[in-house]
Symmetry: C2
Subunit: 344 residues, 2 copies
DNA sequence: TTTCACAATGTGAACGTTCACTGTTGTTTT
DNA sequence: AAAACAACAGTGAACGTTCACATTGTGAAA
């Protein structure tokens, strides 16, 4: 179980074996065109035989580029232990893939809002840039974002695109997606559509979804009723509470558009307890299409965000920024997934 | 959006400002006792004022220690895109936390079985060690593990502890957990207990769970019936297929112990389609306690693995190995979570 | 033939730390 | 009072690359 007695080989060893100078080895392995095809191939072969790999630390130190990006998750101070929003976990997968495709390494870290994450990674040269992921109260981290920007840190974030953009942003077109949900419910003959989710500017994504819903209602000539909007952050508990409040208010409604699947799942629980049948009495639409959405009874109709596209877009946007060309913010369309909770 | 015109400060700048030599700065910031309390504090203060952080690359290069570990997920060649086993995602969270507590950075990467992951990370000095995560056919990657070990790579893996251990291993005590599940079902009066999951040595974890079940049956004086064991890998589809085969076989059974929650969920779907009621006709127990387990109807009774403990144990074991002291393999107990699928 | 350009490699330094020593002081021991 | 020893700080080198520039050889243009 001990370590190899002999140290691992360096580029000098390869150089010696190949009968060239050490920098030539470096050039060859990077695929530099100024090394002849022949020597390049020879060096590659020797490197492989000797089991040599470039030392990333030395490389990064000298070139001032780590080919690594850091992924920072953050949520409101997590109440319980480690219940991470499943949607972001899907995102993690797609970002990982996007990085792998480009030969980038990915550092990951979960952050509490209070931490001073804003200084750590890029400054210590661990990463060339940051990807920021997380719902939550926008106003809370707005300040940090500005600070990042001021520091000249490269970052891309997932979130609401519509806000006066702080840095490079990629997000779902929440208004379009909200409209999609609204139109679907309306097409099912529903008119009293409640919205569960914050609609204030602290939660611009939710607000976008709500205004999309309102647009759909308006287009259909239905008056939207502000009293049918109930605040909820993105947890199952919040959804349960909001739906319960809705039911107990005595207002009449025949559909619920939840700002996230977790909210929707909580809401369905509350509706069931209140004796409301889904979709008979109340149709329910969620948002995100998390894995659990297809496992509820009835299965949840929801808006799927383009997770795969998002990962690609985030990495691409960040990379562009690192290389000095800023890309415009990008909105990805949502897609309606029809399941049982709206009557199939 | 441009970069700071002036380069970021180095330890020399701090040294100059503090009126000491540069290595003293390095020592002070590492908390070296050989720097007097006074100067240490002074240097800390100046560093903070100047917004200085230690360059991780230089530090790692010189000290030959990256304070980073790499987390490698791998599964059987993923059929569809990025459906990652939710259980491992929970694990990711706990490992992240365990790393953060120790000031370690975490690199993550998803691997196809075919890739040559076994050489990459530690050799290039990106990471001090590897954590390997993934179910799957053991025989498939067994060879790679041996290779890693031979290379002197430090790694810890999550998996079956009982096998002739390749390297440092942490895992759930599958036999104990299986017994727990069996005892619970027996206490509910069930006697015809089917097991859905591979029981061969390619899947030692599943096999352990099965033998735990058999132990429980034996202790209760019930003969275990090998024909009630159906192979299934850990997906919802596999669970569906296995349960369907079970039903169609015409054998009588009144309980199902699934080797994973996904299998259980698939099985419940098949049972529902076959007109069997859960838990009335058939009680169901899963394994893992993934988030979706509490959202099914009825909610799924399951065995919870100690995810938090696992993350801690893996990181600790790995760290020990890096520091030259090998820790023995570790088994963590499973915990029964009783929900509706076994009658509450 | 001379000249210039270009392709291919070599040379020396630099990236920003940490390591192993060497010097200082000032305090204790005998 | 000399010797011994801490406690603290400084000096020079080293980690393994990549960079900027200098050097060589070769063939085409003059």
């Amino acid at each position: 179980m001990g370590r190899k007695p002999t140290g691992r080989p360096t580029s000098f060893d390869i150089a010696y074996a190949a009968g060239v100078s050490q920098p030539t080895v470096s050039r060859a392995l990077r695929g530099d065109k100024s090394v002849s095809e022949k020597t390049r191939e020879k060096i590659r072969q020797i490197a492989q035989d000797l089991n040599y790999t470039v030392d990333k630390n030395a490389s990064s130190l000298r070139s001032q580029r780590s080919n690594t990006i850091a992924l920072l998750f953050f949520e409101d101070p997590t109440p319980d232990q480690s219940m991470i929003n499943p949607f972001f976990l899907g995102m993690l997968g797609s970002i990982t893939r996007a990085c792998a495709n480009r030969g980038l390494d990915l550092l990951i870290s979960f952050q509490q809002m209070e931490d001073d994450w804003h200084v750590q990674y890029q400054d210590s040269h661990r990463a060339d840039g940051l990807i920021l992921l997380g719902y939550g109260d926008y106003t809370l981290y707005r300040e940090r974002l500005d600070q990042l920007e001021e520091q000249g840190t490269h970052f891309a974030r997932w979130g609401s695109v519509s806000m006066d953009s702080s840095g490079a942003t990629v997000g779902t077109d929440n208004v379009q997606a909200g409209r999609l949900a609204g139109e679907h419910l309306i097409s099912k003959g529903r008119k009293g559509i409640a919205f569960l989710g914050h609609a204030g500017e602290q939660y611009p994504e939710f607000a976008g979804r709500y205004s999309g819903l309102c647009e759909a209602l308006k287009s259909a000539g239905i008056a939207s009723d502000k009293s049918l909007q109930y605040d909820a952050i993105t947890t199952e508990e919040a959804g349960y509470a909001a739906a319960k409040a809705l039911v107990e208010s005595g207002q009449s409604f025949d559909a619920v558009f939840a700002a996230s699947d977790l909210i929707a799942i909580g809401a369905m629980r509350a509706l069931a307890e209140a004796g409301k049948r889904v979709p008979g009495d109340v149709a329910v639409v969620g948002f995100d299409d998390i894995p659990a959405a297809s496992l509820t009874t009835p299965p949840l109709t929801t808006i799927m965000q383009d997770v795969r596209g998002a990962g690609e877009a985030l990495v691409e946007t960040l990379l562009a920024q690192v290389e000095g060309r800023d890309l415009p913010p990008r909105k990805l369309p949502g897609k309606l997934i029809v399941r049982g909770s709206t009557g199939g």
